[in-house]
């Protein structure tokens, strides 16, 4: 079976790394909440930040910002606060997204949506409460051209005091 050993990168990736923005490793992209490939929406008053928490805050000194952010769940229809991580290096090959679940303020059953295959969508609920400073796989089977990960605060589960954590997303292939 042919094997290839190479480095995937781009000038944009190199620039991103040089400015300590989301890291690119070969076959792996880690996108930080608050980083250049991350967009948050919704009332700013509802966003909360835990400095020194999450993957960038607790483990990875090379990425920033060094925090995790969260908001309370919304039990009504539709998202009030939400966020999007855009993968700038999506490839036409099976890709796997993992979410880092922080130790604190991650107690909701959160609804992740992945955009892949040039415009298809894959949605899954992830119970964040059983996990603590660790990676959780969002898609157990590969999705090609996985270019966007979306997470909102809407949930039909739990109570209004549950918190949805928005931290790093890692995409591997």
């Amino acid at each position: 079976m042919p094997r290839f050993r190479t480095i995937i990168a781009s000038a944009a990736a190199a620039l991103a790394l040089a400015t300590a923005a989301p890291a690119l490793a070969v076959g792996t992209v880690t996108m930080a909440n608050g980083g250049q490939n991350f967009t948050a929406s919704g009332p700013s008053a509802y966003w909360h930040y835990d400095q020194g928490q999450g993957y960038c805050g607790h483990y990875a000194t090379w990425c920033s910002p060094a925090n995790a952010q969260w908001t309370y769940v919304n039990h009504a229809y539709g998202d009030v606060n939400s966020a999007t991580w855009r993968n700038p290096y999506a490839v036409s090959a099976p890709e796997f997204a993992s979410a880092f679940i922080p130790a604190r303020n991650a107690t909701a059953t959160a609804h992740y949506t992945l955009r892949y295959n040039y415009g298809s969508y894959w949605s899954r609920d992830v119970d964040q409460r059983p996990f603590y400073d660790q990676w959780v796989r969002i898609n157990a089977t590969g999705l090609a051209m996985l270019d966007t990960v979306m997470l909102g605060d809407q949930s039909w589960y739990g109570t209004a005091s549950d918190k949805v954590a928005f931290d790093e997303i890692k995409i591997e292939n």
């Binding site: 990168a9 490793a25 792996t28 298809s120 969508y121 796989r137």
Partner: protein
Amino acid sequence: MRSPKILFALGMLAAAGVAATALAAHAERRAIPVAEAVRAMFADLETAAKREQARGCPDSGASGDGPCAAARAKLDAMHDDAVNAADAAIARPATERAAAIAAIRAFRTNDWLEVDYRSTSPNPYKDGEEKIEIYADDKGFEYWIDPARDVLVQAGPGAGLHPAPRKARPDARLPVPELRSRALAILERQMPGFGKRKSSLHPLEDHKDKLVYFFRWDDFSQPAKESEMPPFVQVALYADGELASYTDTLTR
């Protein structure tokens, strides 16, 4: 399957010049075994997708059952075929995966647990080429197995498999020492000798809203790679003692 990207990327990397040193800090070399047939399937998928986009077909989320729906269904079928073929190209034969299923059943102490293979994919805790096999049981739990050792790396509610979060009844709550004892029993079963080994690890106990209790031991004896976490083991138990999740990145 990544060759067009690779060629493009290598060219761009050469042009990056100044930033190459910084890049090296986070780049990982990967060997990617890909059958030519699989590569062709993804190339065909890309070509078909670009053709539909040129035709003006929007995302499935926007189009619903509009005129592009048939094209989207075809693209999705091509996608699933390609992904399945790619997984088949890297997965161990089913006969070799029997040891992984046995490891999961031993962990759950249930010889009859229904366990299905899902995929083989990169291990998010490791840089490089280390893989995990993902399995799911009929209770909504997902299991990650290190196929090189048939060792359980992680277990917990799988995405989309266990949507209703579990809570212990108040009258079923166990005291923390009992939960700690149960966590250690699980670890001793998974990692014989853990009782002696844990003295060299950094212990941590915490909980989330007193609903899930975490018993964790981190290994800080060696500096972790920049993009990896220090190895750790963790048992998470619901307040009534039921398993919430398990992770072992210590066992090598």
